[in-house]
């Protein structure tokens, strides 16, 4: 295993460009590589912008989804590298799991480490998990697992089956209606750094096979969690499946249901009922 500690956060626009230019001719197994950064502190301005766009209250601890933003550039760097077997453009985020061991203070120095694992077979291609581990003072405080689907790709011989579904109970009570405007992708891109062109405009999304620009899955997840602000414990597991893309603009409905140990969530299109997100939120034991 090769572990590389980066001295600064890689710039995402350059990574997306490099990944797009080197998309062809990839293959093989996942690289046995880990990328790390040490002593990362959240930028207060970025945090404030993120909180506003996702509707989290701005406070002295990080929103439970925020560490994903810190680790994401490292994950993209891993995927943009030629050694990564799948082409980054066209990868679809289909599931995201977060394990928050405890709340993280805004000023805490965080050590990040990311890697790829679990190359799996999916009926529509292959999936891979991008992992992130966040530690403070040598103690792991946050773990993330983003499952991406590469349509038409093939997992290696003997790969396990993909694991992309999240089981939820009946969700028929509407907690909120969101008008998601056509600039939702650009707004989230600005605060998250995730400038993947499929989120930015109809034109750039069309180039990658989408009818219109689509909302970031992690924004939908964050906003759903923000709707439960004040009702979640600090130590919490959040597991969501991203179903059909949320095309911009859209009106969507958030459904929530309190269950044993936490909440079940769904975000669906207001008129067609198309499922965009299904998720569970559970207190860690």
């Amino acid at each position: 295993m090769v572990r590389t500690v980066l001295s600064e956060t890689p710039a995402l626009p350059a990574l997306f460009a490099r990944a797009t230019l080197s998309a062809r001719g990839r293959g093989g197994d996942l690289p046995d590589t880990r990328l790390a950064r040490e002593g990362v502190v959240a930028d207060p301005a970025q945090l404030a912008g993120y909180a506003r766009v996702c509707r989290f209250p701005l406070g002295d601890t990080l929103p439970v989804t925020f560490p994903h933003l810190l680790a994401f550039p490292l994950q993209v760097a891993l995927m943009a590298d030629r050694a990564f077997p799948l082409a980054l453009p066209g990868l679809v985020h289909v599931r995201n799991r977060i394990e928050a061991v405890r709340s993280i203070g805004v000023g805490e120095a965080l050590d990040l480490e990311v890697w790829a694992e679990r190359f799996a077979r999916h009926r529509g291609g292959a999936t891979v998990d991008l992992r992130a581990s966040v530690s403070a003072g040598g103690e792991e405080v946050w773990r993330g697992r983003s499952t991406y689907l590469a349509r038409g790709a093939q997992a290696p011989e003997g790969a396990p089956d993909a694991d992309v579904d999240v089981e939820v109970g009946v969700l028929d009570r509407i907690a909120a209606q969101w008008q998601v405007h056509d600039d939702a992708g650009r707004r989230y891109a600005k605060v998250s750094g995730d400038v993947n062109p499929i989120h930015l405009s109809g034109l750039t999304a069309k180039a990658f096979g989408f009818k219109r620009a689509i909302a970031h899955g992690m924004w939908v997840k964050a906003r759903a969690l923000a709707a439960l602000s004040g009702r979640l414990p600090d130590a919490v597991d959040v597991d969501v499946a991203f179903r059909k893309p949320l095309l911009l603009p859209s009106t969507v409905l958030l459904a929530t249901e309190q269950v044993e140990g936490g909440w079940d969530l769904a975000v669906r299109n207001a008129s067609a009922g198309t499922e965009h997100l299904l998720g569970t939120v559970r207190a860690r034991r």
Binding site: I174, A175, A176, Q179, A227, L228, R231, T256, Q258
Partner: protein, 427 residues
Amino acid sequence: MPAQFRKAAIVGGNRIPFARANGAYARAGNQDMLTATLDGLVARFGLQGQTVGEVAAGAVLKHSRDFNLTRESVLGSRLSAATPSYDVQQACGTGLETAVLVANKIALGQIECGIAGGVDTASDAPIAVNEDLRRMLISLGSAKTVQQRLKALSGIRPGQLLPEVPRNVEPRTGLSMGEHAAITAREWEIGREEQDQLALRSHQNLAAAYDRGFFDDLVTPFLGLTRDDNLRPDTSLEKLATLRPVFGAGESATMTAGNSTPLTDGASAVLLASDEWAAAHDLPVLAHLVDAQTAAVDHVHGGEGLLMAPVHAVPVLLARNGLTLQDFDFYEVHEAFASTVLATLRAWENPGYCKERLGLDTPLGPIDRSRLNVHGSSLATGHPFAATGGRIVATLAKTLSEAGPGKRGLISVCAAGGQGVVAVLES
């Protein structure tokens, strides 16, 4: 501290006729209407130049320049400038809440008299600049160098020049109050016809009250209006039945502009005092404010209707006062929507709901509907949010006083944010 509490007396009230938005009061602001209403009260009870204990009032839609709305209105009124004042905001519960606050200070002996009120305008609404533009302007204001200023200005986009108009939408749910009420109406299977009937009665009762002069000492004409201009004395079930539903969807949509309150402009005020102060000033005591209760429900994730909080507040109030729901001569249930009143009554009659949601072994039971909103309510008068509580308190106090001593009335007001304020008045 006083040895014991005394119940605050309701001496009387004053309001201006309520006007449908963008009509008779389109050019009047909150401060204009509140000042005129206070002056009407001053004239009615001979308070010129006097210092009252305090004035508590508020508005739901309030411009930021009106941060001291009540104090500024008092300064512009004929009350003594030495009258302390403060603003209250509890959405549609504001008007009743101010009466409770003033009554409580009187009950504690901290003041001898006070004025409670509320005002709202949907016409002269506080339009705000676009949120992006607002943030840009703030960073421009704090910029110290030319470069910083240019950077801030570079963020301007044409779309940001569109202002933001206040919407009647719950911030956390994104649903309008009407859409929330439509969900509750569907859950409680409230029919179209019973809503229209309730609306019709509201108009008929209000018209009859005006015709017999009931409001002569409760309302002061303003800007050419002498009656609430939403009042339709000649409406009928047939006319109401022709209106298209405006909230809800499909077959189950039953809520129309006829059985929902319109956006309205108006103001109201109530004079409260100790019995001693009223006697010393040769003023009547219409009724006493006996007790009050607030409640809130989880309308976001809790599966309870946005406007159902008064349903929860009333049993607490009844229990504390050793009363049953049937121990009242009059009921004032604010008609935010006809379906809200009907869902409230149905919930109190429902054994399962009363047990599971209210923790009651037996339901509160039905009320005598002929005692409900006997002088009309918000469907007919209109509903300038913060002014509704004062309208109801003064109307009910006079109703009780007319009926004779020892009569009792219940007030129930629902409010945005899943809140409710309820109170008991006694003559």
